[in-house]
């Protein structure tokens, strides 16, 4: 079979065939050009940015006031705001996503499983600006009944809606990982007299742990890149805090804030969004690469 495959993949030399080969190759190169473009654009403006601001100030400063005098460019308030949303959303979404995935994969079969999974995907299909609206006009007023000193814009309600957004990511990838656990492992456990819940919690879950971890990392990466919901709900106050009841600002929300103000190119404000964008890009890229590496290791385990 391998021999056959090789022979039918050998390229024909007719001009029409070569032309189609060229066309599909050119299309494939768009994605490479896009990556190069993103990195080039970010780096170009970031170099300009760091000719005005020292690296030391950017990475150690604890105040971020690029739009008002005296201008300070310490990235940490934005990073803490972003992490507050990312970690806060994970606290809600990881247990719910994991338990949902395990339940759907081990306890629900056939049509109900497909229906429930599809309904969960509806959560992923709702535009993020709608989540922002829901956070500001429903979740925050409801929470304020229990937490009177909650700010109008706060990290908590933003984290809750971001959690709603990433639950489908976590549960759907985890469910695939749980379902990919070989049947013989389950059967061996049943053969030893294990109960269904024991198979689920002590055999299937540990066997698919890496897939689950990858889903959590991907969910986290989505959470920190989320833009519209946190722009609407979390506020515009860059603040180095881990208190979720206060108004904060994430990296993405800062980028949107500056672009809404129609900033001319070449100014330090314009360059600062690219500096923040590069940090965000590197954080999500790092998270995605780690997740891919974990998934790859997992796939090889049962081959």
């Amino acid at each position: 079979m391998i021999h056959l495959k090789k022979s039918w993949r050998s390229p024909s030399r007719s001009p029409a065939e070569l032309f189609s080969h060229l066309v599909v190759w050119l299309c494939a190169s768009i994605s490479v050009v896009t990556t190069i473009g993103i990195i080039a654009v970010l780096c170009k403006e970031v170099f300009a940015f760091f000719s005005h601001v020292s690296l030391w100030e950017f990475f150690t400063g604890t105040e971020w006031t690029p739009l008002i005098e005296p201008r300070k460019f310490g990235i940490w308030p934005l990073i803490s705001g972003t992490l507050l949303i990312g970690l806060g959303a994970s606290i809600f979404a990881v247990p719910i996503g994991a338990i949902t995935a395990l339940f759907l994969s081990e306890y629900v079969k056939g049509t109900p499983r497909i229906i429930l999974k599809s309904v969960l995907e509806v959560l992923a299909g709702i535009p993020t600006v709608v989540y922002g609206f829901f956070a500001v006009f429903f979740i925050t007023p409801q929470l304020q009944k229990f937490i009177p000193d909650l700010d109008t814009f706060n990290a908590l309600s933003a984290a809750i809606v971001v959690a709603m957004m990433i639950i489908p990511t976590i549960s759907s990838i985890s469910q695939d990982a749980f379902e990919a656990v070989p049947k013989y492992l389950r059967e061996a456990a049943y053969g030893l007299g294990a109960r269904k819940y024991q198979v689920a919690t002590t055999v299937v879950f540990p066997a698919a742990l890496s897939g689950f971890v990858a889903s959590v990392i991907l969910g986290f990466s989505r959470a920190i890149g989320e833009t519209m919901a946190v722009t609407l709900a979390a506020g515009a106050t860059p603040r180095l805090t881990l208190n979720p009841l206060q108004s904060i600002q994430t990296m993405t929300a800062f980028i949107v804030q500056v672009s809404l103000g129609d900033t001319p190119a070449g100014t330090i404000e314009y360059q600062s969004i690219f500096a923040v964008g590069l940090v965000l890009f590197l954080m999500t890229l790092g998270a995605n690469l780690v997740a891919q590496w974990i998934v790859k290791r997992f796939q090889e385990k049962y081959r």
């Binding site: 490479v32 654009v41 309904v119 959560l123 709702i126 993020t128 600006v129 999500t284 995605n288």
Partner: protein
């Protein structure tokens, strides 16, 4: 025989599962209920065909709907062929070497890049360097790049699922590679590709941050007439209204959300329906 302790643990695992599912569904229910209860009264046919106004009771979403249509049509024209052809390259043409591997990893990572970063790319390259300005074309090109990885991955998965026997059969009767792909492999993979395209378009319709980055205007009272006109889209209109202090604007924001949700959720349902039918056909 189950001991009572076993029974408790078994029941609590099951309860936790049902509870977790219930919480998600409850959140979804609250969201839909909240939006419909706030926006239903101000939603009317008139609302769809009026232009935005400083007075909420006279405002409508006509330019936003037309802007969304313009941008999405152009995005589809730009991204769908390129995405499908890239998928074909990866599955049917590429040799298994380091370059192909690099492209695959690259695409997987592009799919994870936050949408706001695509907006920065669009702003620097399409709006400024290429001089397209804050136009429909610049918006559609940015959106196109954003959804390209999703379409490529969906195409790639769908092509992988086509059995090799179909390719061998076609080659066996003397078809060229182009004919094999066009007449035999693509039709077989089409439902899968279509599902991916619909899902990515549904995502793009609700996406607003890249368009805000490239400077789509939030107060537009006209519909775009050509590709280089300024524009607004539904999601940005919602963002704009939701951010105003007056409560009346929040109600019309909710009405616009209902319109947006009807569109995106119908597209999602269509995609899920297609996918379910596909998997049934494969099993059956």
């Amino acid at each position: 025989m189950m001991s009572w302790w076993d029974k408790v643990k078994s029941a609590s695992v099951k309860t936790a599962g049902i509870l977790a599912l219930f919480i998600s569904l409850l959140c979804l229910g609250f969201l839909l209920w909240d939006v419909f209860s706030k926006g239903w009264n101000t939603l009317s046919w008139d609302f769809l065909f009026r232009i935005p106004s400083r007075r909420p009771e006279e405002a409508g979403i006509k330019p936003a709907i037309l802007g969304t249509l313009w941008v999405m049509t152009m995005t589809t024209i730009l991204a769908v062929p390129a995405g499908i052809l890239t998928g074909i390259y990866l599955e049917e043409y590429a040799q298994p070497n380091w370059f192909t591997k690099f492209i695959r990893i690259n695409i997987a990572n592009l799919a994870g890049v936050p949408s706001v970063v695509y907006g920065m790319l669009g702003l620097a390259v399409f709006v400024r360097t290429m001089g397209l300005g804050r136009s429909v074309l610049a918006g559609a090109m940015t959106m196109g790049l954003l959804i390209l990885p999703t379409i490529i991955i969906a195409t790639s998965e769908a092509l992988k699922a086509v059995p090799d026997s179909i390719r061998f059969g076609a080659y066996g009767v003397g078809a060229s590679r182009r004919q094999v792909i066009w007449y035999h492999v693509l039709p077989e993979a089409l439902p899968g590709i279509l599902t991916g395209i619909i899902l990515s378009l549904s995502r793009a319709i609700g996406e607003s941050s890249p368009l805000i980055l490239i400077g789509a205007l939030s107060f537009v009272t006209f519909a775009p007439q050509n590709l280089l006109d300024g524009f607004t889209v539904l999601a940005i209109q919602i963002f704009n209204w939701a951010g105003r202090p007056q409560e009346e604007f929040h109600h019309i924001a909710a009405s616009a959300i209902i319109v947006l949700l009807i569109v995106t959720l119908s597209l999602n349902t269509l995609a899920i329906f297609l996918r379910t039918r596909m998997s049934r056909r494969k099993e059956g």
